[in-house]
Symmetry: C2
Subunit: 416 residues, 2 copies
């Protein structure tokens, strides 16, 4: 379908205005290429589910259906299963967040939570503040509600809160509907917000009365360095989004929102309108998985594997890419952000890269406004270390010609 | 959470304007009361999942995880699993619809399809035409996009297409974004659109260039009478919504949209923004259920059980309710629509009914504008025949006092 060409669409008159701003996901569209066996994919942020013991999940399903088929196969409450919400509360407690099951609504992955938050808060023209670059699924979800998205640059310590402050000052009190942030191992930049900046961020949000939406899919996938408290642990007003996609499996589509009750009631209303309730079946299976299996062991193995892949990628980048290329050094998560010299546009080069057997996501997918063209996101989560080495080698070949041109210009003292 | 009272909401300034028109589901809010063991519930349209063999589902899950864990636990395509889309195509073929898997997008129940269609088509103030009364989940889904909803009355043959024609004439060419209809065993009215009116409906939609959204959750649950071809079988431009909730289990949240390709592409875009993709796990399990089990046998048993419950309800209504009360006689599905004399308001009486151990959904939940106050929807799908008899008896008691008053007035020749 992604390739179907529509010559004439006679329903064109009928679509909502928002359809002009809803865009397709670069990552989704890459799925076809990324699953070709000869292509080493650094594109999608797909967790390595082969490390999740399928028989343990099958056992969880059998037990869920033996003990509670009448609820697991039925419609459920829009909030989600109480047992699973308790598990989410325990998971959050381990990273320093104090919450009750009634503070939580189960969602279809964190992606649905982004959509519901956007739906509850955004009118056309409203301002949303995000990191720049930011998660493209968030841009997709929010863009359907037609906000103006303002991106705050990052450095190695995450969002530049000094620049955020300047922006908030410009916008004035309640000048934005919310600040969307991924503090841990940011998608796509891979950087982590420092503890000092976390404190400053919640202060600023309070001062300017702008809610914070904290998206934390990778927080438990830390390879090194100390745990940083979530923003939600610093300020109970934060809207916190969690997911099982990276610590268990995305195929069950389970995430959650933890937010102040008034906000949660709005989220619940739009959740009812969106799908009535989540999958009781998925929820019942996840409940058993997190109570009856050695899931911490699995998560430890997963984190170990991702750490090795990160190492392989950083080593390969250091070996194969020339010094003009800059990239981040993530302490966890899935992604490295690569910045090439400004004159290189990663988007038209993607076809060539796929031709050579390697895929990535061009950087402009992570900006609302066309920035990031000389950047790309590399996901190290899915490929094995040897593949990663080979993939980066292929990638270097793709950029080599362009870089030589760049060097020739630079040597001649010419700006490009 | 439904009962939590929010005295002061300091985020009130921040919510989107649409939140003023998004309403809570009367049925969702009733879930608490409806699950009290002493209450016989005619409220929620919950299928009787106890007739679905849990061990067959567990086997389907085990096989799905044994044969395809790498996909079942992973993110999937936004369109949904090809194998499941083929099954949906076969299901549709059995009722006369010709389609290909590429004409189908898998959704989280038909409810998500309603939300996605609303999102793709509706700007504030746009007109949507529905039957009156109509499915409250559709009202919820659409209302988030702030359309003006115009209800066309029904009789025993379904939507009054003569009144529809008058309305379309008033609105003019392309005067509405779509016509939403449930032709089979309508929710909540229980009536079925006649074959003649189906033909006329698609003619009118073509003439006025208004797309049709056909919602068909109950089409396969026919107790008697001949099969009526879906609108989609009469006109390929129809947007058809299907679901596994009533022929398998709602707990997996699986439904689908079958629509012309250009429309499907728009649905796919908003689907990506809403949740990236559906649950591969649920889809893989459903795939096995529909290929490896005797699901037709289960569906036959289910339909048989619902037919007996319909009979029990119609018999009890005839016995216990006085002649002033009118009700529909469905040939399939889940619901009977009851109309009481105009001066009775079923909403304030609900608390009393629950007190006496019976629950229903007040009629105004099925209108966008407060109509239907003297009506109620009775779902016969969930209770056993003996319970249904007892439930209707209790219901009759609740209304008896009011009806006596009514009779006294009527006898005295006074209007009420």
């Amino acid at each position: 379908m992604g390739t179907a060409r529509v010559v004439f669409d006679r329903w064109d008159w009928a679509y909502a205005e928002r359809m002009a701003s809803v865009r397709s996901s670069a990552v989704r569209d890459l799925f076809g290429a990324a699953t070709r066996p000869d292509v080493i994919s650094f594109a999608g942020g797909m967790p390595d589910v082969t490390k999740v013991p399928a028989e343990a999940v099958a056992r969880a399903a059998r037990e869920a259906l033996r003990e509670s088929a009448a609820t697991a196969l039925q419609y459920g409450s829009s909030e989600g299963r109480p047992g699973l919400r308790r598990i989410f509360v325990e998971l959050m407690a381990e990273s320093g967040i104090r919450a009750k099951p009634d503070d939580v609504v189960v969602t279809a992955g964190a992606q649905q939570a982004l959509d519901l938050v956007g739906k509850a808060f955004l009118d056309p023209g409203d301002v949303v503040i995000t990191e720049g670059p930011t998660y493209l699924g968030a841009l997709q979800a929010f863009s359907a509600y037609r906000p103006r998205i303002v991106c705050i640059p990052m450095d190695d310590d995450g969002m530049r809160v000094d620049l955020l402050e300047a922006e908030l000052e410009r916008l004035g009190l309640r000048g934005a509907k919310f600040i969307y942030t991924i503090p841990n191992f940011q998608n796509p930049a891979g950087v982590t917000l420092s503890p000092e900046r976390r404190r400053r961020l919640v202060e600023l949000a309070r001062q300017y009365e702008v809610p914070i939406v904290e998206d934390d899919p990778y927080g438990r996938l830390r390879f090194e360095g100390g745990h940083c408290k979530p923003l939600k642990a610093l300020d109970d007003d934060v809207i916190y989004l969690g997911t099982l996609s990276k610590i268990f499996a995305p195929g069950l589509r389970l995430g959650w929102v933890c937010a102040p009750r008034p906000i949660l009631q709005k989220v619940l209303l739009v959740k009812q309108a969106a799908d009535l309730c989540g999958s009781e079946f998925s929820q019942a299976v996840a409940e058993r998985y997190f109570t009856g299996t050695r899931w911490r062991r699995v998560l430890k193995d997963l984190t170990q594997a991702y750490a090795e892949r990160r190492d392989a990628m950083l080593a390969a980048l250091a070996e194969h890419l020339p010094p003009e290329v800059r990239y981040t050094r993530p302490q966890g998560g899935f992604f490295v952000w690569v910045e090439l010299p400004a004159f290189i546009d990663t988007k038209p080069l993607l076809a060539e890269a796929v031709e050579r057997g390697v895929a990535y996501v061009p950087g402009d997918a992570f900006y609302p406004d066309g920035r990031g063209r000389n950047c790309m996101r590399l996901a190290f989560c899915f490929a094995e270390p040897e593949q990663i080495e080979e993939g980066v080698r292929r990638l270097a070949e793709v950029f080599e010609d362009r870089l030589e041109l760049y060097r020739a210009f630079a040597d001649a003292g010419l700006a490009v």
